[in-house]
Structures are given as C-alpha cells and as structure tokens.
C-alpha cells in the first residue's frame, strides 16, 4: 500500500459511460420533471434497468461475486465495489439527483437487506432486481414523531403465535421511492419496503427490527406524496400500516430481544455504508454547479487566475477557488470512507465525517453559484436554481448535519449516546 489517487480504470470507464447517460437521458429532461412533480421518468428508468441488467445485475449496488472455494460458496466483493458505486452515484447526480434517486434496483431498502439480512434473505429478496422489469425498494424509518431520534418510532410489530406472522401497525413518512416500491405499476416489477418497527417497546433501541413488507401486502397503503423544495422527480411517500401481516421470516435480524442493541446496530451499519454514498450524490450536484459557473464565466471572458495571493484576486476568483477547494476535499473524504468500506476497515467516523462535510459544502457551493450568476442563477430558464434546491437535501436525509456531527463527536471523544445527547 501507499498513498495513491489514481482513478482505477474500471471506475474511469463507468464514469465515462454514465456521463453520456447523464447528458442525454437526464439533463435533457431535468427541467420538465422538476416542473411536473410526481411524474415518473419511465424512459430513464427503463434505460437504466436494461443497461444494468446487461452488465450482470439489476442495480448499481456492488455485485456479490460468488466464488467456489473448497466446495463452499464464498461471497467475495471486488475491492473497489464501493468506490465504484460512489463514483457512479456522483456522476448520475451530476446529471440529475432526482433521477438518480429513481434508479431502479432497491436503493436504501435493498441496502438494509444487504447489511442486516441473512444470506438466505439476501438471496430471496434481492434477486428480483435483476429480473425483467425495473423494480424498486424503499426504507421506512421516519415517522411524524420520530425523525432524527429514530429510537422514538411508534410502529409496532407483534408476533401472531397462531399463524407465525408479524402484525405491523404504524405510520411512516418521507419514504424515498415508497410509491414505486409499494404500488402496482404495470411497467415495474414487484418491490418491497423495509419497515422499521419495535417488537418490544420496553426495550428501546434493542427492540427495533426491520421487516421486509412486500408490495401489495394487505393493510398497507401509500397515503400521500410530498411536494418538495427539490429532487421532485423522486417520490417521497407516506405509508400507513394497519394490521399488516408479514411472514415470520421477513424479519431482518433476531426475532427475540436481547439486552444488547443489535437491532439498532443493523440500522447504524446500513448508515455507515450509505452515508458516504449520499455525500457522493450531493457532490455530483455541486460539481454540476461549479462547472456551470466556470463555463458561463469563461464564455464571458472571465478567467480564473489560480496562484495569485488573495490580495490580487477578484471576488469571483476567490469564490470559485473556494468552491473548488471545498468540492475536491469533500470528494476525497467520500473516497476515503468508501475505500475503507472496500478494505473492511471500520469507517463509522469517516463515513459520518464525509456526510458532514458534503452536507456543508454542497449547500454553500450551490448557494454561492446562484449568487454569482445573478439573474441567470435565479431564473428557471437554467438548471442552476434547481441544483440549489436539489443540493439542500444532502444535509437532511441519512442523518442531518447535526446528527452526523453528533456521530463524529462521539467517535472522537469516545462518548456514548448518553454522554453526548
């Protein structure tokens, strides 16, 4: 090992391909789908699904390479899988982050099964994404009364001993892709939502479990689609569960409550994997904004003179240079976090740090970009104002900036959640 920053060839290749997709399938439709909230970009979804299937899967998520070793099936992940995934997400989000979020393949729902499910569950629930129709999955943690404080969720799962089914009641909000994952569309395959619920409210976090709830399950309904500041191509749904019956084996993790906090740890492990990816997505949007500003300035004959002392820079030069510093350093933090994941190094600190940094810089960069471009920045004739609205979500979902600061602070200070609330 030594310190290196050479983009691996396979990553450079996929970036090249996705850039074309971003330009031709995403940018060209960005405005239309922003203006028509809740319309579904079927052409993009179909295209991505076909493309991903032709590459051996039905999702962007790292493929599990099955390898025969001593007769046993061993799972082996290529050592740059997460790095590649982060690069792909960054590029797709550079195209349009709303579209990226409706890329079929399971999203956060599949990620939860991936990190908290058993080998059989992974086989059972994840195979569908490679099938003929594009298929979605979503993750339902947030409730009206429980956002950042996930331990406050009220959704309950009770085991019906007679039928060996879990009976779930509760109301989830802000479910990304909830509609496409749960509702029946003839264009899409049968998806699922992963619902977090408590199997023992007296046990607090230790009692929390995730359940795979198949699309069409009786008693479950999508009750609302939110109208949002940005990422409008992505549906954000409310899902209500009334005596919803779920097979016994759909619980991810142990069906009994131990004193330890394993259930909750499942959610947290998912976050370690997904936070740098959310950060990567935000960085794609911010890069779009920086590039746009630089192109526009160049067109007007404004040159950014790198290397000058601050005293000699124009205000615009200062701003653009600051944007580049922040954008690049945030991206390097993402790369480090996913590199650690690929190399099986614990990355809770780096993962949250990359999310803190990216949440900060992508909002600042897009805000500054609109300011610099003046009326052009503010007008809906161009996409910059949209990127400003899209970027903001980076600092909110997958743990707000504050929650990720808490995680980082606890890590560096060696504090528990009790010691630092």
């Amino acid at each position: 090992m030594s310190i290196e920053f050479e983009t691996p060839k396979p990553i450079a290749q996929i970036q090249f391909v996705l850039k074309t997709v971003a330009e031709n399938m995403m940018r060209s439709q960005s405005r239309a789908f922003d203006e028509n909230e809740h319309e579904i970009p079927f052409s993009y979804i179909e295209f991505m699904h076909t493309a991903m299937r032709s590459m051996g899967g039905g999702s962007l998520a790292p493929k599990e390479e099955k390898q025969k070793e001593g007769g046993e099936l061993k799972e082996k992940r290529p050592p740059i899988a997460y790095q590649s995934l982060a690069a792909q997400i960054e590029m797709l989000s550079w195209g349009d982050v709303g579209f990226y979020l409706v890329t079929p393949g399971g999203g956060l729902g599949a990620a939860a099964v991936q990190s908290a499910g058993s080998a059989e569950q992974r086989a059972k629930f994840l195979a569908r994404f490679a099938e003929e129709k594009p298929t979605f999955a979503a993750m339902c943690m947030t409730e009206a009364g429980a956002g950042s404080d996930t331990s406050a969720i009220r959704t309950r799962a009770v085991l019906d001993e007679a039928t060996k089914e879990w009976v779930i009641n509760g109301e989830k909000i802000f479910v990304t892709g909830g509609d496409k994952s749960f509702k029946e569309y003839e264009q899409f395959g049968k998806g699922f939502v992963v619902v977090w619920a408590s199997i023992d409210p007296t046990a607090g976090r230790s009692g929390m479990r995730a359940f795979v709830v198949e699309a069409g399950t009786k008693g479950v309904s999508v009750t609302k689609l939110e109208h949002k500041l940005g990422i409008r191509a992505s549906d954000t749904a409310s899902i209500v569960l009334v005596d919803a019956r779920v097979p016994y084996d759909n619980i991810l993790g142990s069906p009994t409550v131990e004193k330890t906090t394993t259930g909750f740890k499942g959610a947290m492990a998912t976050f370690d994997a997904t936070r740098p990816l959310v950060a990567a997505s935000g960085i794609g949007v911010a890069r779009a904004a920086v590039e746009y500003v630089k192109e526009q300035l160049a067109e007007k004959g404004v040159e950014i003179r790198y290397g000058l002392p601050r005293q000699k820079m124009t205000s615009i030069e200062r701003d653009v240079i600051e944007m580049e510093i922040q954008l690049r350093s945030a991206w390097l933090m993402v790369l480090k976090a996913v590199w650690m994941a690929d190399n099986k190094k614990p990355n809770a600190l780096e993962s949250s740090m990359s999310k803190v940094k990216s949440g900060d810089v992508v909002t600042k960069i897009t805000q500054k970009a609109v300011e610099i471009m003046g009326p052009l920045g503010y007008s809906r004739e161009f996409l910059l104002e949209k990127w400003f609205r899209d970027a903001k979500i980076t600092d909110i979902y997958e743990g707000t900036g504050q929650i990720n600061r808490l995680v980082v602070a606890r890590q560096i200070l060696g504090y528990s959640g009790k010691e630092l609330r």
Partner: protein
C-alpha cells in the same frame, strides 16, 4: 488505484519523526517561544533522523529519493510538535530541495553533499518580500544580466538563519518570471539585518531581513544553470509543505482542546458533553481531514507528474490557511479564558495559525 495508507517505509519514518516531534519539539516549544531561542541540541537531534538526507540520491551523498508525499507526512508530524522547531529543522531543505529539483548537475554535485554530509548547517532561501500583496510569481527583487553576470537587487523578508547562512537561495524577478540564484554569504552587496524579525509568532525561529544591493553572481549560480528553471514546481512544493504544516498545527490545537474539554467540568458535566463544544470539535476534525487529503493528493500529483499538480498545490495551501485559522481560533475558544493565557499552547497555535496566509516560502518538501 485509490489508497489512503502510507507505505511501510513512510510509516517507519513518520513514526520516528512523530516521536521526536512529541517528545522533543513539543516539550521545548513553550520555552523556545518565550526565550526566542531554539536549543542547538534539539535541532541536531532532529537532523539525525535524516529526513532531508533520505530525500537525496546516493550520487549526491544522500540515501534515498525525494517524495513529496513522504514530505507532507513528515511535515505534518513535525508541525504537530512545534511549527518553529519544524521550520528551523527544515531550513537547509529550503536551499537543498530546489537544487535537487531544478539545479544543474554541477550545482547538485557542489552543494547537496555540503548541506547533508555534516551536522545541521544554516543553508537557507529568501522568497518572501515585505509587501502586503506579496506575490511569489511577481517579485519586487530583480535580476538582470550585465556583462555575463546576474545583478540582483531588492529586499527579502523573514529569511530563516540568514545571519549565519553559508549560502542563500535568493528568488528574484528575471524577465517577468521568478528564478532562484545561489548567493554565497560573502557576496558583495549582500547585507543581513542585525536585528531579527519580530513577528506575531515564531519567536523561536531566527528570521532576518536581507538586502541585496547590486549583488553580482556568475551565470553558473542561477538555479538550473544558464537556462534557468521552472519555478512553478518549486512553488508548488513550498505550498504543500505549508499546507501540511497547517494541518499539523491544527491537529495540535484540536487534540489539546479536545482533551481539555473532556476534562473540564461545567454545570455538572464535562464541557465536551455540550453540543456547542462537541460540534466545534467535530467540525475541526472534519476540516483537518479535508485539507489533509487535499494536500496528499496534490503531493501525489507532484510525485507522479500528473496534470493539475500546480493548481492543486495552490488549492491545498489556500484551503489550509483558512482551515488552520478556524481550527486554532476554536482551540482557544474551547479553553475559554484559560486559552488566552500563555501557559496553555493554544494561543501560540492561534498565532501560528494566522501566519499560514503569508508564510509560504519557509518550508519545502
């Protein structure tokens, strides 16, 4: 490939340097700053680790090859110990490294062994000038050709160890671009101020004002010989050294204030248990890491000759100057009134921190 792990050799070097930085430089820092004096023994001890020697090939009496990545790793460690101590220890590099990077074969043969064979000796370089808008690419000090020699005139500021220096690498404006010239200590027209520069910090480091009044040097003393050299690469190497030093100072302030916050009781809890403090610490850790990675990447690009290395080095040092000011300011804030008292090092680091916006030129990797 992407990788964030130093190689074995680098780990060993960083480990040795880290021990010296903490056990020697850090312990001496307060007294050195107050008494305006760095013990000679302290610097000699650091010199024996052989950081510069290991960056110079055997052909010139060294025992290794230069790596900017290794350099920034080492500088961060040293500056974590003490910035003034680091700058003192690495002053000879200011002279030797540009010769290694851009010197003619004769210059390398003549000077590199001299600098590295013996004990630490004051060879130095003069870049900074006393102007609010000092610009390394637009120097006020000039060099002109006259009768087959170069005539250098101007004034240089903050030149480490100039008083005792055997030779000074002086940067001057030659036909619109920056070029280095090797000026021996006894050159006619060269004068060094009697008094040391007095700055907001770095009291321990002897810095001088240097005047050049029509100093004549032969063509062979132009860095790179008659054809000169590319200054961009040298400047980039100065910049990433500065960026790495900023990371080291920031880390020092961050760790000290974090440990203090974990120990200090307020309102029945540790002050680190208050989000107002904990969030500051989380942000400090995050920003330090951000600039560290930016610096590493720029160093790696310099080592591998990648496109954009020069620009990236500039971005790294520009970001570093802001980062270190933010972090060291908070270091003081977290200690409250105690942070303002010179018994604690955080106020010194805050003074160090402000310097990075204007002190590129005092260290090179």
């Amino acid at each position: 490939m992407y990788s964030f792990e130093p190689n074995e050799e680098q780990k060993m070097l960083v480990d040795a340097i880290g021990k010296y930085a903490q056990n020697d430089l850090r312990l001496a820092a307060h007294d050195a700053e107050e008494s305006c004096m760095l013990p000679k023994k302290l610097i000699s001890k650091g010199w024996e680790i052989g950081l510069l020697q290991a960056s110079i090939p055997e052909a010139y009496s060294g025992f290794g090859d230069r790596s900017a990545v290794t350099g920034v790793l080492a500088v961060e460690e040293l500056a974590f110990g003490d910035l003034a101590g680091m700058l003192a220890l690495m002053t000879p590099s200011l002279f030797a490294t540009p010769i290694l990077l851009a010197g003619s074969e004769e210059q390398k043969k003549e000077f590199l062994p001299k600098v590295i064979e013996g004990d630490w000796a004051p060879y130095t370089a003069a870049l900074i000038e006393y102007a609010y808008d000092f610009d390394a690419n637009d120097l006020l000090t000039t060099a002109i050709v006259e009768g087959g020699d170069y005539i250098i005139s101007g004034e240089k500021a903050f030149v480490p160890y100039a008083k005792d220096a055997e030779a000074i690498l002086v940067y001057a404006n030659f036909e619109g671009s920056t070029q280095g010239f090797i000026v021996p200590k006894d050159a006619a027209g060269l004068s060094v101020s009697d008094d040391r520069e007095k700055l907001m910090s770095l009291n321990a480091l002897p810095l001088y004002r240097v005047k050049l009044d029509c100093v004549k040097v032969p063509v062979s003393n132009r860095l790179g010989g008659e054809g000169g050299h590319d200054f961009d690469f040298i400047l980039a190497s100065l910049r990433i050294a500065s960026a790495a030093a900023a990371v080291g100072v920031a880390k020092a302030s961050f760790e000290y204030s974090m440990n203090y916050a974990k120990d200090r009781d307020v309102f029945g809890v540790k002050v680190a248990q208050k989000q107002a403090i904990a969030f500051m610490l989380a942000e400090m850790a995050t920003e330090i890491e951000a600039i560290r990675l930016l610096t590493w990447e720029a160093a790696w690009k310099l080592d591998t000759g990648k496109e954009g290395a020069i620009k990236d080095a500039f971005l790294a040092v520009t970001g570093a100057a802001d980062m270190v000011m933010m972090v060291t300011d908070r270091g003081v804030q977290i200690l409250g009134g105690h942070g303002y008292i010179r018994e604690h090092p955080v106020e010194m680091w805050m003074r160090n921190g402000r310097g990075f916006a204007m002190l590129t030129g005092l260290a090179i990797v």
